[in-house]
């Protein structure tokens, strides 16, 4: 990856909403070149998608319950943890799956409307998979920071309007 690609990625990682023309100006390159870099990075699956980070607890009645589940599994011969992980990540409720070192094997992030809904998923779908030995569910009570973004009121600009 060259320096321009890296710079572009850093820009859109911070704000996926930046228009191509703005990215071009920020980087001091042409719009055409900017489009080409983006296209290349998309094709190479370096850019996997563009999403927004939403604080669902604000301005909406929709409850969003997130749980982190520690899962111990028996790895399958020949495919290790990958097949079990795949069976788990195919569920639409599952937002993330990571293979972990330490006392458990997979960390699974689940999102549901209610705690009961998440509980049902764990007891009926996750725990019943053959290889799953045990699960420990931790509900997220409050998000302070996610993906590098702080979940609090806007940090106001404390500078005076005009200064030397």
């Amino acid at each position: 990856m060259d320096a321009k690609e890296r710079e572009l990625l850093q820009l859109i990682e911070k704000s996926g909403r930046l228009e191509t023309s703005t990215i071009a100006k920020l980087m001091g390159i042409s719009e055409e070149e900017t489009k080409q870099i983006i296209e290349k990075l998309e094709n190479e699956k370096v850019i996997l998608g563009y999403s927004a980070i939403i604080n669902w607890t604000k301005g909406t009645d929709e409850g969003a319950v997130t749980a982190m589940i520690d899962v111990k599994v028996t790895p399958k011969r020949g495919v290790g943890f990958d097949k079990v992980a795949e069976r788990i990540y195919r569920f639409p409720e599952v937002k993330a799956v990571y293979l972990m070192s330490g006392v458990y094997d997979l960390s699974v992030s689940i999102e549901g409307k209610t705690m009961a809904e998440v509980g049902r998923f764990v007891s009926e779908k996750l725990s019943t998979i053959d290889s799953v030995i045990s699960t420990t569910t931790h509900f997220i009570l409050k998000k302070y920071k996610h993906d590098g973004l702080v979940f609090s009121e806007n940090e106001e600009d404390k500078r005076i309007v005009v200064s030397p």
């Binding site: 703005t22 100006k25 005076i160 309007v161 005009v162 200064s163």
Partner: protein
């Protein structure tokens, strides 16, 4: 309002100086709402967290007493290492350095240490608002040397020649410059150094923006041949480490001059705040990554703003450093004060009139791009709308 009665109590020096032109503009801008400010001379980043933590730790450990007058020796040693590593100039932490309350105080004590009544100090304009008044307060006479946009606001050696008299003591340089963003290259500095040496001048080199240069490696003035022994180097933590409110700067230079400055510092200020010194130490030891991160962001915004101004037809050179652009507004037919005031009233965008930085700043405005991309884009849209109504 100063009455005759009170005026007789005031010193001639203080009566000779005017309040900063920025002050009036600040009052006006502060009274309005929803202002997008391009008028700020400081980073929009908050001080890196590890630096803030270091000051908490300092207080928790009970460091609430004075430090040595010249500053914590540990900090001075780190400044010495930093200056050698980053800018290739070496100073003794023991007797060639003083930690000050911001670079502003360093400039003040430098001038007071060297200027005798009536001696002249060349001030390169457009300049930071406090240079000329600080010379006056030190009893000296500021002699403005004007630089022009056609030269990208670079000081020409022959201009120094023309300004030097038998009373000239020193020249005050600032590169990268506030408000123009101009950076003097090594060849510019060498040419200036020749004149400085010929006339046996002292140089006070304000290098507070040295970390924020974008195109070429930075050359510190004392690194130029024969200049170390005739230069007082001024710098600080405000701009590079986003620490403006901490008020922490430093001066380095030849031992005798620094010891003279230290005398003024110890009698007037005692020492810089202790917790801020511990924070600065952390900034030097572990802060370089943050400097690079912030600088990268400024560089991108510089590109955004210079492109936008070009599209608006407000010409400006591409500044090599700091976080200001200084576009010409001459084609609008307005003075810089009128332009800034009308822009503020009609579109709620605050820029600083170039005239507050000296006569040669007239016809320009200072726009700081230390503001978010979204705000910069909106500000440029508003400036575009404003210019089209003229």
């Amino acid at each position: 309002m100063i009455t005759e009665q009170t005026s007789k109590y005031l010193s001639n020096n203080v009566q000779a100086i005017q309040p900063s032109g920025i002050r009036r503009f600040f009052d006006l801008a502060s009274s309005m709402e929803n202002v997008i400010s391009l008028g700020v001379g400081e980073p929009d980043f908050v001080t890196p967290w590890n630096v803030i933590e270091a000051s908490y730790h300092s207080l928790e450990q009970g460091y609430t007493a004075y430090t040595a007058n010249a500053g914590l020796l540990e900090l001075r040693k780190e400044i010495s290492r930093y200056m050698r590593r980053r800018f290739g100039v070496t100073y003794s932490a023991e007797d060639e350095m003083v930690v000050t309350v911001g670079a502003s105080q360093a400039i003040d004590i430098a001038l007071r240490a060297v200027v005798n009544p009536g001696e002249e100090v060349i001030v390169v304009e457009p300049s930071f608002v406090s240079y000329a008044p600080t010379v006056t307060l030190a009893g000296g006479v500021p002699v403005p040397v004007h630089t022009y946009s056609k030269d990208e606001f670079k000081l020409q050696p022959e201009q120094i020649e023309a300004a030097v008299t038998e009373r000239t003591k020193a020249i005050l340089l600032c590169s990268p410059n506030n408000p123009t963003g101009t950076v003097l290259s090594i060849s510019d500095l060498v040419k200036i150094a020749e004149v400085v040496e010929r006339h046996d001048l002292l140089v006070i080199s304000d290098e507070i923006y040295a970390e924020l240069t974008y195109d070429e490696p930075y050359t510190s003035f004392p690194a130029v041949r024969n200049m170390r022994e005739r230069t007082i180097l001024i710098s600080g933590f405000s701009k590079a480490f986003a620490m403006t409110g901490w008020r922490l700067g430093f001066a380095c230079g030849p031992k005798d001059i620094l010891q003279a400055m230290l005398k003024i510092h110890q009698y007037t200020m005692m020492c810089a705040p202790t917790m801020a010194q511990h924070a600065a130490l952390e900034a030097l030891v572990n802060g370089q990554k943050d400097v690079v991160r912030m600088k990268e962001s400024y560089r991108q915004r510089r590109s955004l703003v210079t492109h936008a101004l070009e599209e608006l037809g407000l010409s400006c050179h591409i500044p090599g450093g700091a976080f200001y652009v200084f576009p010409s507004i001459e084609k609008t037919g307005l003075s810089s004060e009128e332009f800034a005031e009308q822009l503020l009233m009609k579109e709620q965008v605050a820029v600083v009139p170039g005239s507050v930085f000296g006569v040669s700043g007239e016809g320009h405005v200072r726009c700081s791009y230390a503001t978010s991309i979204q705000k910069l884009e909106e500000a440029m849209r508003r400036i575009d709308r404003f210019v089209k109504t003229l």
